[in-house]
Amino acid sequence: MMQYKNIIAAYSIMILLIIAVGVLQSWTIALTILNYCLISAVMTIGANIQWGYAGLINFGIMGYTALGGLAAVLVNVPPVKEAWKAGGLGMVVSLILIISGVYIIRRVLRKFENSKKRNYIVAVIIIIGFVIVRYISGPAIENIEAVDPAKTGFLGGLGLPIIFSWIVGGLFAAGIAFIVGKIALGLRADYLAIATLLIAEIIVSIIKHEDWLARGVKNVIGLKRPVPYEVDLQGSTWFIDLVEKFHSKKLYVITSLTERQDVLNQLVIDASSVYVKLCLAGLFLTVVIILLILTQKALYSPWGRKMRAIRDNEVAANAMGKNVVKEHLLIFILGSAIVGIAGAMMVTNDGLFTPGSYRPMRYTFVIWVMVIVGGTGNNFGAILGGFVVWFLWVEAAPIALFFINFFTAHLEETNAVKQHLIQSAAYFRFLLVGIGLLIIMRYRPKGLIPEKINIK
């Protein structure tokens, strides 16, 4: 029990902080923060598997998050029949062509293993294939995007409940991670970071600009939630009764009937949004707990030991007969898949898909700060990092505002410096997170909850 004392203390403080936000600001804000904290925690578990277990730097988290989001759209949105009629065939043919092209290239690479002509043949195949695919898909894309462009203009999805997309998002991310891993994993640490970051940028720019796929920067809105809607709740009697019972003391004091009804209405509106967020939080928490159990089991299994051995001394592990390349690829795929799940969860939470919002700052670097601050190699640490950093990221502006007002209290309201500082309070989050990272890296390089391996 003693060894868990720190962990329990840290998590209790974190929960108290979120409750404090609930009391001081509002419960809706507190639960929004909690939900994002949980999603961030899933992302940090993914990043921690790669960096903490195996020592792989993946700066492409943004790309896998976006893929998860794309999965949510493709699973949840009902299919657009007119669009399929207009250009579905062309797109399917193009897809088959691309797959067969990749297959042919693989065959060529195998067959002409030692031939100098190999690269030329591959180049010719790629160029011819590119022209053919452009020729077939071009008109099809135009037709699809012409179908009611204000509302659809894309092929749509499967029309299934969005919760399935969490799995599909993981699969999407895993598939792309397989390709990326094959390309980039041979690179040394910092090259790998740059290469994955740039490949993620390619993925996001494809999602942004292929309108037939998911409307691109025109965004997809109105994704269906796995939990009830506020409006439905406000209309249902059981919910109103529940709220009435919950606040019966408060309502009892009010004597006027109309006034009481008004207060009750307001309470129901507040409670409905809290209820929805709680439902989502429950779902997210389930995912976090399942992943946490799985990753903890993996960490202390023979496989986890092998990964640590590879991380700590690649050459020695290789000499002991461990297949380093294969294990690196596997863990790269696993970690990315978890990030993909988080991406789908995030879109589920928001109910909309905005490809333009996938930026490296928010979806790669902040997640990395979370992992480093929390504790590399320790899942409890990584999750805590997700909570702490996201909390700071959101609450930085109010905190900064408080301090600005405190330190400039002697200045007049019209003072230019004061006004300028108050206007830029939102940017103090970068300062807070950056300085936090620098301090942790310097004085606690293993993170808030460091990795502890018990050798039995």
Partner: protein
């Protein structure tokens, strides 16, 4: 005649913009490569350091403009480059003293330094946004064009006009001067040679009496000069916006790696490789072919390989291809 028209068309829409953009990237890429070669880490704060230098230049430009100081037909910003460089070098040395030097002395792995540079990136971004805000700022003044399309048409009697913006000419001119001085310094002076020796083999360099502190100091000074000039030139040509500068880090990295990281000359050429690839792949060749081909063969599509949305993606794909086939870059850099 059609042939000349086609050439002028290409010059106007691809070659000159690509040369300009390439020069801006090249300066940044040399900055990345120097830091990588001598201080031995991938500096993720590259874009924001360039942004910081530019911010100082922008602020001083606004101050000069309010005083009524101008540089004739040249942009006022050119006058503000020296003080901006000073501020930039001061900031870099400050960061180095309080952040990077600790890890250098401890001989931390490069990955750790890269993560530290992410922290520096956050802090620099915060400082910039708190001081100047996240908005778009134009600080260009002076004569806008050196050669206008109409003048060129009248001069030569061609159908196609050739435009040369003064920012384009300034960019290329300044880049050539700065880069030549830098290569002269690195290859011909004693300090430059000692820097290259330090980059090649640190232990041997230390044994032969090279002062590591001096090498680091000079590296940051050169880095500050390159970062500020590159940033100001980019800002003059387009406009100054912190977010864009952060994003520019990506093609700059691509340029540095394509050229062979740790190799300044490779980085210089890498900048142009990336810029030309981006612009040539996304340019619509319809008009070009319309001039060259006989009338019945005129293309009806845009003849564009990829839409301009994929500008960034092109440069990153080139990077991926280079990494696949020549992992040490086109010109041999440090091995991976």
């Amino acid at each position: 005649m059609d042939f000349i028209n086609a050439i002028v068309l290409l010059l106007n829409y691809t070659v000159i913009p690509a040369l300009t953009y390439g020069s801006q990237l090249a300066l940044g890429a040399i900055f990345v490569t120097l830091v990588y070669g001598i201080l031995r880490f991938a500096n993720f704060a590259t874009g924001d350091m360039m942004s910081f230098g530019t911010m100082v230049a922008v602020l001083i430009t606004f101050y000069f403009q309010s005083l009524g100081i101008s540089f004739g037909f040249l942009p006022t910003a050119l006058l503000t480059i020296p003080p901006a460089i000073l501020a930039m070098i001061f900031y870099m040395l400050f960061i180095d003293k309080f952040v990077f030097s600790y890890y250098r002395v401890k001989k931390s792995p490069p990955v750790q330094l890269a993560m530290v540079s992410v922290g520096v990136m956050f802090v620099t971004q915060a400082i910039i946004r708190i001081i100047i805000g996240p908005f778009d700022r134009r600080f260009f003044d002076g004569e806008k064009f050196i050669l206008k399309a109409n003048e060129f048409k009248e001069m030569t009697g061609l159908n196609e006009g050739l435009t040369i913006k003064s920012t384009q000419a300034i960019t290329i001119f300044v880049t050539v001067i700065v880069v030549s001085i830098m290569f002269w310094f690195l290859n011909r002076t004693k300090t430059g040679t000692s820097m290259r020796a330090y980059s090649d083999n640190e232990d041997l360099a230390l044994l032969s009496g090279i002062d590591p502190k001096k090498v680091v100091l000079i590296t940051w000074i050169i880095a500050g000069i390159l970062a500020t000039i590159g940033g100001v030139l980019y800002g003059l040509d387009k406009s100054y916006r912190p977010f864009v500068y952060f994003n520019n880090m990506l093609p700059i990295f691509a340029a540095a790696i394509v050229g062979g990281i740790g190799n300044p000359f490779g980085a210089f050429l890498g900048g142009y490789v990336i810029a030309f690839a981006e612009i040539l792949v996304t340019y619509a060749y319809k008009k070009f072919f319309a001039y060259l081909l006989p009338e019945f063969m005129e293309p009806d599509s845009l003849m564009q390989l990829l839409s301009t949305d994929y500008k960034f993606a092109v440069s990153f794909s080139i990077l991926v291809i280079v990494l696949l086939f020549r992992p040490s870059g086109i010109f041999k850099g440090k091995t991976l």
